[in-house]
Amino acid sequence: MHWPIDLIVLTFVIFCAIAAISVKDLLGTAILFGAYSFMMCLLWTVMGAVDVAFTEASVGAGVSTVFFVAAIFRTSRRTKD
């Protein structure tokens, strides 16, 4: 475990989380949330939890982004905050 990698990836995770909840377009939220999940997957790989990282890469960054985009396609991109 190299702590600089851990610290850099954690910083990216927090930036992605803040951006995902503050951007004023839900499609942007979807993509930033996918980036957040992928960064989380990297973090788990660094921690040695390979199974969890694999699950997060396929589930969090893959399928849940697709569900998100599908739901936005059927509702609206508009958001006030």
Partner: protein, 274 residues
Amino acid sequence: MKFLGVVIVCLTGALLLYGTGEFPDWGDPNSPASLHLSNDYIEKAFEETQVPNLVTAVLADYRGFDTMFETSVIFCAGLACFLLLRDFSQKKERFYRHIPTGVILHVKNSKKILKVGKEFEHMDKDWVPSDLIIKTVCRIIIPFIQLYALYVVAHGDFSPGGGFQGGVIFGSSLILLAISYDLKTLVNRIKEKVFGIYAAIGVLIYVGIGAICMPMGGNFLDYSKLAPLVPGDPHHIRALGMLGIEIGVGIAVTAVMAIIYINIVSEGRHDEGL
């Protein structure tokens, strides 16, 4: 409301930060979580089950009940999506393309459904996926994604992976088919009923393997009692039992992912989507 939210969040965060003072240091090998049960798992799991991947061994064997009910939760989620969204009414407006001439027909307020085949092609109202490059690339890629998913399920015992991951990858290959062609292609190729039946079959395989152990003289999900049924080395029987339930989990997860996607993207009408 925002101010109140900030106050609540700051209070909770301060309490949690105060609590971290009592935690063991990060990465400490002697933290309480790593002292009791997990050492037994690490030292004895390979000897007992012949499965090198400890996560799979604990997931599918020692904590088999937990995983069984997680699979049931996923099945219930698929069922909930179906019940919330499924709408059996036909849309009145439909679009067709006459393939030889390229003329687009707009059918309004008609019950008559044109036969889709060599002459006519179904078209979506909002989105017309007819890009040759995307279709061709996806057609080439999809079999490899599915092969990889099967590899992930089959090698769950030896490398990272297993039923959940393999099932999700297989489900996403089906979703890719629905996105690159159109939703009709997927729904016509694999009927809605088939997805439902597969989701149920996956859970049934899991519970069935657990239940077969009981007449053989063991407890529920005690794979070591299955040895007389399977030819081969009896030492590997627990690994084979795990492979069986991973296949069940994979089938259930694949079907449920497809059900959720199809229902959300078409608002339950199963006619047109992303």
